[in-house]
Amino acid sequence: MKAALVVIASWMLACAVLEGAEREFDEIVRVVSNGFHTRPVHIPFFGLVNLATSVARPSGVKHVDLAVFENLDLGGHAAGDIAETIRSMDRGWLPFVRVHNHAETVLVYMTQERSDCKLLVVTIESGELTVVELKLNPEAMQGWLRDPDAAAVRSVSR
């Protein structure tokens, strides 16, 4: 009976932690939605992706959240506005990499969540904005640290 209670309590704690992480990403999505007066596109069965990452850990990804905003009227200051929005959220996201070319701008932020590292990758291209939050294992993070700009571009092309 005692063992069952411990298992249930651990499961509830794990759920609460996961819910906290979801809420944080939801907050990012809400702030972006409000800032650009839009809503993210619904991605069917996206929940299955995290079911897969919890088992297979592709490219060292332990958890992924994704929000895609389409048909946006993005001005030339979109990257600056997003950077300011993330900074003002005061959630400990540290600016890490920024890659800008004719087609797109990629902003990458890093933070720590217990023993894991989390990355927030924001891609801005013509009329489209994608926000991805990745929880990575240390090996995957090492790849980012070796070649951050190439990793940023790779993460977008995936």
Binding site: F96, V97, V99, M110, E139
Partner: protein
């Protein structure tokens, strides 16, 4: 007495310059508009501390970098890639070179390749007889890379940092000569 006062005022006025880190001039923002790709890697003290926790102790290279990172306050990399040669001028880089002057800064490596047009320079910043930072300037016909490393670092360890955090691999003069069989380009 006047001479002493003048010297004292000059010393007070110039003293902070020695402690200043490399400032990227506003002219670089204009270059960003012309570049086909701009990469900006920002690793301040907080991020370096965080990154250090994720570098592997098992991998020999990572372990060395992890040890190195402990003494650093920041790594900043700005790289511009252009579609054609000649899209940036020496005058765009001049405000950076103007900062990298004695007595605070000294150039320790200068490698120029006539064949590729690549020019790599490494400067060290000394504060109270200690190395307080490093600057790397790599100019190529279609690419410009500026790296500023703040904190305590041995220039010999720079090769270990090269290839991490977006820092280009820079060979020292001796390494360069060895790799070219003793002949410089």
């Amino acid at each position: 007495m006047i001479a002493i006062k003048t010297a004292l005022i000059a010393w007070i006025a110039l003293a902070p310059l020695g402690a200043q880190s490399l400032k990227l001039p506003a002219s670089l923002d204009r270059l960003a508009a012309k570049a086909s790709e701009v990469v900006d890697v920002t690793m301040d003290a907080n991020l370096l501390q965080l990154a250090g926790r994720f570098l592997s102790d098992k991998d020999a290279d990572d372990a060395k970098v992890k040890k190195l990172v402990d003494g650093l306050k920041g790594i900043y990399v700005r790289s511009f890639e252009f579609e054609k040669a000649g899209e940036y001028l020496d005058s765009d880089v001049e405000p950076i070179r103007a900062q990298l002057q004695a007595p605070a800064w000294s150039r320790i490596v200068g490698v120029r390749s006539v064949k590729s047009g690549e020019n790599s320079e490494v400067y060290i910043k000394t504060e109270n007889k200690k190395i307080g930072g490093l600057a790397i300037l790599v100019t190529e016909p279609k690419q410009l890379t500026i790296v500023s490393i703040e904190g305590t670092i041995d220039p010999d360890q720079l090769s270990e940092l090269g290839g991490h955090f977006g820092i280009p691999k820079v060979e020292s003069d001796s390494q360069h000569k060895n790799s070219k069989g003793g002949k410089d380009e």
